[in-house]
């Protein structure tokens, strides 16, 4: 008779010897560094051009995001339609995103078409025209989109919690508004483009089953551009956290749920506490088996999901608890969150639970390293944060060795309700 009660024996994932595949690096003629991961079976390539063109560098709100968004909306040779048609004809996906420090252009492409699409990327970063009509359409549609988003309690809560943590004048705390979309000027966008794309600082990340002539292809299209020549003046922004710690907002009188955000400032990932705190965060609310999830979803049913995490910022992070809960149980949810903090401050995590979290985290990293795109994403994060693979191996070591005592000390240091901002948006 099959014994279904006893688990099959396992190899504890903490015994796994996790390796991060090293990148190959080369440098284009103009000094632009290229980091590559050659892996995978599919004949595909991902190319990500990272520019230091995030909202960190803008003088006026929304300019960085707009410049990034409109990169592919027309050059002197091609209309927006023709640019899109070119990439789409070759089944390539061209995306762009603007973050705080950086902004990117991402290309996913079948290898056989790479040669056809790369030259057009060169056009986008040297010859975008930012036509007035394109800007006007963009403004109008973004404003409409914003109006819809502003009716969502989670969207509103995310904006306000960041403002509380960093202040509206800090890039991490700033957000968009209808007035500021309306105030956008073409010259601001063109200026920003000239400085941070056309003559900007660029790093390239490439992953997939790479072609032999990849270097020469990149060098031919990007290697002669005037990138990485000027020293971009480093901007400094000061965090001015809000004095007010608690806030309740009624965004929708008829709302049936409240978006809850409970957050405190936290150092960046170069701080010695960071990796240990990630283990503590997993115990607290970092995965499905965490205490917040077990208590507030799986025991009480107050919410569809509750999570805690560290914001992925370069300069400074925040430790955040985030959930949408039934309107009538928001206060009870918040009290449970504080109760879980208290338990972590006062009681040692038992070894069984700690082993589970260690194993889960190791399995999760193993899963995250599956495939070339995932590996390059991890490297990109390290490189942009000024880290090396030592960070990876230290983090693994921390997961394996951090003690319950250390976690309790961290909880005492950081999980104090008085350090947290608390926001509910209904």
């Amino acid at each position: 008779m099959l014994d279904r009660k006893t688990p099959p024996s396992i190899k504890d994932p903490i015994e796994l010897d996790l390796k991060l595949q090293p990148y190959q690096q080369f440098t284009l003629d103009n000094g632009v560094p290229v980091y590559t991961i050659n892996a995978g079976a599919q004949e595909v390539t991902l190319i990500e051009l990272v520019f230091f063109a995030g909202n960190w560098n803008e003088d006026k709100n929304i300019v960085a995001g707009t410049a990034n968004h409109l990169l592919k909306n027309g050059t002197s040779k091609r209309s927006a339609f023709e640019i899109n048609e070119h990439f789409e004809y070759y089944g390539a996906y061209l995306n762009r995103n603007c973050f705080n420090e950086t902004a990117n252009i991402t290309l996913h492409c079948l290898n056989k078409h790479l040669e056809k699409v790369l030259p057009v990327i060169e056009e986008l970063i040297t010859d975008a025209v930012f036509d007035e009509e394109e800007i006007a359409i963009y403004k109008q549609n973004q404003i409409q989109r914003l109006k819809v988003s502003l009716q969502k309690c989670d969207f509103v809560a995310n904006r306000f919690i960041d403002e509380h943590l960093y202040g509206f004048n800090h890039p991490y705390g700033r957000y968009t508004s209808i007035e500021e979309f309306n105030a956008l000027q073409r010259e601001q966008i063109v200026d920003f483009y000239n400085r941070y794309y056309r003559n900007g600082k660029c790093i390239i990340f490439v992953a997939g089953k790479l072609q032999d002539n990849l270097f020469s292809q990149l060098n031919k299209t990007i290697g002669h551009l005037p990138l990485n020549k000027l020293d971009l003046a480093e901007k400094h922004h000061h965090v001015t956290s809000s004095k007010e710690k608690k806030r309740n907002i009624i965004n929708d009188e008829n709302g049936v749920q409240g978006a809850i955000r409970i957050a405190r400032p936290f150092p960046n990932r170069r701080h010695p506490d960071f990796t240990k705190a990630q283990v503590l965060n997993n115990v607290f609310g970092g995965f499905f088996g965490s205490r917040l999830m077990s208590n507030i979803r799986e025991d009480k049913g107050y919410t569809y999901g509750i999570h805690s995490y560290f914001q992925n910022h370069v300069q400074q992070s925040a430790w955040m608890v985030s959930t949408e809960a039934g309107r009538g149980v928001c206060e009870a949810t918040i009290q449970e969150v504080y109760k879980e903090m208290k338990v972590l401050r006062e009681e040692l995590v038992d070894e069984e639970e700690l082993l589970l979290v260690r194993n889960y985290m190791m399995g999760s990293i193993l899963g995250d390293l599956d495939g070339p795109f995932q590996i390059i994403a991890r490297w990109k994060n390290y490189i942009l944060n000024g880290l090396t693979d030592a960070y990876f191996y230290n983090a693994i070591n921390t997961i394996k060795t951090v003690t319950a005592e250390e976690l309790k000390q961290l909880a005492e240091k950081y999980l104090n309700p008085e350090a947290f901002y608390e926001l509910v948006v209904v």
């Binding site: 099959l2 099959p8 899109n84 789409e88 109008q140 819809v148 399995g363």
Partner: protein, 412 residues
């Protein structure tokens, strides 16, 4: 070409193994041939509620998640109108843990009252989060009811109303389980750093002893052909007017499905698509417009939806959509335009197939449709579509009598 091996256990469980030794991981995917379409009209939302209950402990294992996480695994599940799918990814060394867990919950759930009580609440919060507490959240409830009068696609996976989920009893739960969650109604796919012989041995060991169960024979009321255009006008507290129009399209296995899929891409597959170019960029009637379908197994809906630019009249927006649709009916698309959307499809398939999790999911899906080998022939079916097929299908689909329109007005 995706290589795989297929075999069937004596109890009817279909097993597919896809080896890929370039990864240290294994994926175990269990797909059950039951979705929201199989629900009683008076007890909707059940297939999805059930998906939640599957994590509330099985007959021999009180905590599914703990047991998996200790082995370094992660898992999730989803329910559609057609099917329910559970998947686990874990270090390949610990493959047997996934067999132990998945087979025990196929054997029998624990059927604990506490689990049902809590998950009813969790699902109600999910319902609120996605469908009540969001602008336009109720659109698909209304659209489905407008387009389907008979077929169970007329309700959403989350359920027709909160009360159906709130009223679910343990008796209902047990009945549903033993009707649908049997080996004969399931497909097991194992992919990654595994070997066929190893999977055969583990499948026999863990799933082999589970009783076959009764094959569920689906006999759903079929939607009669729609003969008259339908229109619904709604006023709601949303900031923008929105336009929605649906047409019935071919089921998943028909040639017409592939044609309709490509029509969707021609109309709204990206920045060079027709609707975006004409309605957002040139005429500036919409701030956003899309054409898509649900990928449903039985006859589904091809949908065009968009948000109107403030100040634009609904009638003008509708007329402009209609003009684009008419062009598809009267003029052949160019070979280059068709080639573009085929290239896009080829590319999408290549990127989807990059992870062993997606490959396992696709193999299970195609096996459920009748033949796992479709995984390797799917692209060819798209390649065979001609510009004439596109025009013919457009005439068939974009018939006014086959349409359901919703004008969703901003009350503000």
């Amino acid at each position: 070409m995706i290589q795989y091996e297929r075999f069937v256990l004596d109890n009817g469980l279909r097993v597919i193994v896809h080896e890929d030794h370039s990864t240290p991981l294994a994926v175990v995917n269990v797909m059950y041939d039951v979705g929201a379409r199989d629900e009683d009209p008076g007890a909707t939302g059940f297939a999805h509620l059930f998906e939640h209950l599957m994590f509330g402990g099985s007959i021999n294992i009180p905590e599914y998640d703990d047991a998996l996480q200790i082995a370094g695994g992660e898992n999730n599940a989803y329910t559609t109108n057609d099917l329910t799918n559970y998947y686990v990814q874990l270090p390949a060394e610990n493959l047997e843990t996934a067999f132990w867990l998945e087979s025990d919950r196929m054997l029998s759930l624990a059927f604990r009252k506490k689990s049902l009580d809590v998950q009813r609440k969790v699902v109600c919060e999910e319902f609120k989060e996605h469908y009540i507490n969001k602008p336009y959240g109720d659109v698909w409830h209304k659209m489905r009811e407008l387009a389907y009068k008979v077929h169970p696609y007329r309700w959403m996976t989350i359920g027709k109303e909160l009360s159906h989920v709130e009223n679910a009893t343990l008796k209902d739960v047990k009945h549903f389980f033993f009707k649908h969650y049997r080996p004969v109604n399931a497909i097991l796919v194992v992919s990654g750093h595994v070997h066929v012989e190893q999977v055969k041995r583990l499948a026999e060991k863990w799933f082999g002893p589970i009783k076959t169960g009764v094959k569920y024979n689906r006999n759903l009321p079929q939607e009669p052909k729609q003969t008259e255009a339908r229109l619904l006008e709604v006023q709601a507290d949303v900031p923008l007017d929105a336009f929605y129009k649906n047409w019935h399209m071919a089921p998943r296995l028909d040639k017409g499905y592939y044609t309709a899929d490509l029509i969707g891409d021609i109309l709204s597959g990206g920045g060079s698509s027709r609707l975006y170019q004409a309605l957002v960029k040139e005429k500036q009637l919409f701030s956003q417009v899309d054409c898509y379908h649900m990928g449903s197994i039985e006859a589904g809906l091809l949908t065009i939806d968009g948000k109107l630019v403030k100040g634009v009249k609904m009638a003008d927006a509708e007329k402009a959509v209609q003009e684009e649709v008419e062009k598809m009916k009267t003029d052949l698309v160019s070979e280059a335009e068709l080639e573009k959307v085929k290239n896009k499809t080829e590319s999408m398939i290549a990127f989807e197939d990059m992870t062993i999790m997606n490959r396992a999911n696709s193999l299970a899906m195609y096996e459920l449709l009748g033949d796992a080998e479709m995984m390797n022939t799917e692209l060819n079916r798209y390649q065979q579509v001609t510009v004439e097929d596109i025009k013919d299908a457009a005439n068939e689909i974009f018939d006014e009598a086959n349409s359901s329109t919703m004008h969703y007005f901003s009350r503000n």
